[in-house]
Amino acid sequence: MNTELQLTEVFSMLSMLAVGGGSAVLPEMQTLLERYFGFTQTEFVHAYSIGQLAPGPMMLTVLIMGEIIDGLKGGIIAGLAFFVPSSILCFSVGRLWRYIGERPWRRSLQMALEPLSIGLMCSAAYIIAKESIFNWQTAVVAVIVATLMLRTTINPVLLILGAAAIGFLGQIHG
């Protein structure tokens, strides 16, 4: 199968599986990219991390992943495949929802989806941490960023840029 088709297939499937937000789908994304495109864990974590520097939804990182796999064209295909199907679904369900109105099961569905998507986010946190924390220097950087995130209101982009500076100045080895 050609790369374009495969990219479309993988990312549109991930799009439809992204319950409770895009981060829930990160662990599955890592598995599929490794299986179909030989994407390494390091590439995955790099792509995810770099994606955090851009404004807008953090899952724009799928564009970098597509780009690493198949150049600029791959990035655009991955983006379209990831954002279009779920948006069409949302559009349709939104209209249906307005038509049906509030039902008790809607609240139940939300309560059921919450632990599922948090569980998947925990899995993603584990995967990212496992790959990016490999010595005491990287552990210190992660702890500093986490602490500042919890204690202060500093913009996360500045924290990531700070982490990049520490990595550069401290000559952390990847």
Binding site: E28, G56, F83, C90, Y126, V145, P156, I160
Partner: protein, 195 residues
Amino acid sequence: MTSKSQQAHTPYNVSILTIFREFLVVGGISFGGGLFAFLRNLMVDKRKWISNDEFVVMLSISQAIPGLNSVNLAVLMGDKLRGPAGSFVAALGLLLPGAILVLVIGIFYGVNRHHPMADHILAGIAAGAAGLFSTITWKTGEHTFHRLKSLLLIVFTFILMIVVKLPLYVILLIVLPIGLFVYRPSTQTVQDDKK
């Protein structure tokens, strides 16, 4: 949005261009997350397209449907304002600035990734992202972690994903029905939460 009287009853004579521009601005300035705050500010406070109650309903629909919550929110708002075309330009505006920046950074990554200097910088960024993502997970799930039944489902999902390594759709098919049973409409938690 020209006069006060229009805001009260028929607030939806908003041009396609206005919708695109407003979402483009949010997509361009929302560095470092907090996208919901920006969207709420635009839709409820600045433009007064919807009330806060309507926003909460829209947000919960966005979360219940697959896809990115923020993009879903833009799709629903755009549809409410101008139908399918409104949905399209709202989502496009939200994604475009970040998408362009990400593609440009991606080109640099492709060219420089094996440079020793890039190695250090990327190691720092990745470690920072690990700290960042962990705290985002913690903050997003704070209420969910404190509910025992939900916590058990979280741990169960994590084990299926990381230890058993099941495909995601299988995990959804297993965990979602259990969750729906645990939180079926007649249960106390769902009743309490509605208040």
